[in-house]
């Protein structure tokens, strides 16, 4: 007898650790009841029992399926409750859903990653995936911007990447404090500093909508073609199954057709930056 899967039912995952990343951002470490394989860039629906559910892209390595890390910015009711959870709590997860980054097509290429704010969460997962195949890659450059130095998440990541062969990582802040010695300016300003062979490159952009928009415009000015730019789109995915309609972006269901799109796939829709 075929046992049908109930597509709405979450599996349980135990919260085993909570890491403070910045005043507004925490990483929840989860151990699912069964292994939970996912592709980098895919997302999950994470729920607090009886409270609510929200979509997140795991920030951990897709090579590890026994444990998941989800980096969460406190922005509303559900994320506020998630920030108050203590290790030992059971959470619910559904997924993984959607289309992630096509890492297998990045072989032989130089990869430019432009990130802002909490957008570094999916990017960290991508970086783990890229590190695992670095022999096949030419170069990986990360340009990341946060509002202030204290808003920057995964601070040790930058030194680690800069000491990893083929990887370069740059940081900037919108507003410096007294201790900050690095660049000041929006994330796209870092693009002036880098050397990259655009013809043999792909660019990945993940961050707040305004950064996605101006990041894409800047990449196009640099000479990137529409199909070389990968955007991770943010919408209010409620079901994750291409049914509930909340994440419709033109003809696409972001949950199923995305969340990763090339700019070429979505540029005809003037409302993508809203």
């Amino acid at each position: 007898m075929v046992i049908d899967k109930n597509i709405y039912k979450p599996v349980r995952a135990e919260l085993t650790d909570v890491i403070d990343e910045s005043p507004l951002i925490k990483t929840l470490v989860l151990v699912p009841e069964n292994t939970f394989p996912f592709k980098t860039g895919q997302f999950i629906e994470l729920s607090v029992d009886g409270i609510g559910e929200a979509p997140f892209t795991p920030s951990s390595s897709p090579l590890i399926s026994e444990k998941l890390e989800v980096t969460i910015m406190k922005t509303g009711y559900v994320t506020g409750i998630m920030h108050m959870l203590k290790p030992g709590v059971q959470m619910g997860i559904r997924g993984p859903y959607g289309r992630g980054y096509p890492v297998e097509t990045f072989s032989g290429k130089e990869i430019l990653i432009l990130g802002g704010g909490c957008g570094l969460a999916p990017i960290r997962s991508l970086l783990y995936a890229l590190e695992a195949v670095k022999d096949k890659l030419e170069k990986v450059i990360l340009c990341y911007g946060s509002k202030t130095p204290s808003d920057c998440i995964y601070k040790p990541l930058f030194d680690r990447l800069n000491s990893t062969e083929k990887f370069e990582a740059y940081r900037t802040v919108d507003r410096a404090d007294n201790d900050w010695k690095g660049s000041v300016g929006v994330a796209t300003s870092l693009l002036d500093k880098i050397k990259i062979n655009i013809d043999n490159s792909v660019a990945v952009v993940c961050g707040p909508p305004v950064m996605m928009k101006f990041g894409t415009i800047r990449l196009l000015e640099m000479g990137y073609r529409d199909e070389q730019i990968y955007l991770s789109m943010e919408k209010n995915m409620s079901c994750g199954l291409g049914k509930c309609g909340h994440c419709m972006m033109g003809e696409y269901f972001v949950c199923k057709d995305g969340p990763v799109f090339t700019y070429d796939e979505i540029k005809h829709n003037p409302e993508i930056w809203k």
């Binding site: 943010e234 209010n236 291409g242 309609g245």
Partner: protein, 332 residues
């Protein structure tokens, strides 16, 4: 197309007998008009045939307003729904594409679909806002229902559409094959006269495909004008036979309740950071038209507007979708 028939009296007796093993729902005329109602033996004579469109759409049988989608409950009795106009049958076809897709199959929806026999009715005559034909949908079913029927001269005459429909009729002893050409000609005449009424009443209305092209080219002024009287009540989406958007609500024990939702409600697309692509009323209002006429057609083979006209009837702001489409056509 295979025709079968049964004497109306024998059909009523058959329904009485079928009520022992099926739940039967049918289009019934009450003081407010037509409505799908649960049928008990005393109601059989009240079933309305040949009439267009109950007030609410067929989707409510398959997508309840609110349901728990994590606790296991399935239909106890198979169902028969009688008197469904073709606009509703075609609307269900889009919902099938969404809920029965190969990757994510909704087990509750599928259970309801598999346990329901759909008996469509041919429409004789039209209601004020009926415009199926201008949207390329005819006022009688030849696909997607299991059977289609028409009540003529004391006979219930069926068109057999699916194997499930044929098997159902095979079990009814009084059902005979109908090969009388004059009756079939009579049915075709009825179809033609209903289609003539539809053509005449909506002759200015662009067809479904042209409507899509017009909506895609439209400007903001039009949406602002027509949304002036919109109060975001969501009546148009609730009543629509193809609108299926919902929200998942969490309940203790990791249970999920699926509740019908609407892009017309404020906050439908709001994301965590506060951005909301549909914040402005005219954008929400336009979204429904873009969804029905531009986006769904790119993704699905079934139409997202079947021309039933219920959204026009339900609108408390008296917004008339068809007037909007005609104005759009005239302005471009």
């Amino acid at each position: 197309m295979q025709y079968k028939c049964i004497n109306k009296e024998a059909w009523d007796n058959t329904l009485d007998h079928l009520l022992l093993s099926f739940s039967i729902f049918a289009s019934v005329e009450n003081e407010f008009g037509l409505e799908y109602e649960s049928i008990k033996p005393a109601d059989i004579s009240r079933i309305s045939y040949n009439k267009p469109k109950p007030a609410t759409s067929l989707k409510s049988f398959f997508l309840p307003i609110k349901e728990n989608v994590t606790s296991e409950r399935f239909l106890e009795k198979p169902r028969i729904i009688i008197g469904i106009p073709n606009c509703d049958i075609q609307g269900l076809s889009l919902i099938d594409e969404i809920y029965l897709d190969k990757e994510f199959n909704d087990i509750y929806y599928r259970n309801r679909r598999e346990n329901t026999l759909l008996i469509s009715t041919d429409c004789i005559g039209i209601q004020e806002h009926c415009h199926c034909l201008s949207h390329n949908i005819r006022p009688f079913s030849t696909q997607n229902a299991d059977l289609a029927l028409i009540h003529l001269d004391g006979l219930i005459i069926f068109r057999v559409i699916t194997r499930k429909g044929e098997d159902f009729l095979d079990k009814i002893p009084d059902v005979l094959s109908e090969k009388n050409n004059s009756i079939i000609e009579e049915i075709e005449k009825v179809h033609s006269s209903t289609e003539a009424l539809l053509k005449e009443s909506k002759k200015d209305l662009p067809d479904y495909e042209s409507s899509g092209k017009l909506v895609a080219k439209s400007n903001e002024k039009l949406w602002k004008k027509y949304s002036e009287n919109c109060v975001s009540c969501g009546a148009c989406t609730t009543i629509c036979p193809t609108c299926t958007c919902f929200l998942l609500i969490d309940k203790p024990g990791f249970e999920k309740v699926k509740q019908m939702d609407a892009c017309q409600y404020p906050g439908f697309e709001r994301v965590a950071g506060g951005e909301d692509a549909l914040f402005e009323l005219h954008n929400r209002f336009k979204n429904r038209y873009m969804c029905k006429y531009v986006w769904r057609p790119e993704k699905f083979s079934s139409q997202a507007c079947t021309g039933c006209g219920r959204c026009i009837e339900a609108c408390i702001g008296k917004i008339n979708k068809n007037e909007l489409l005609v104005e759009l056509e005239n302005s471009l």
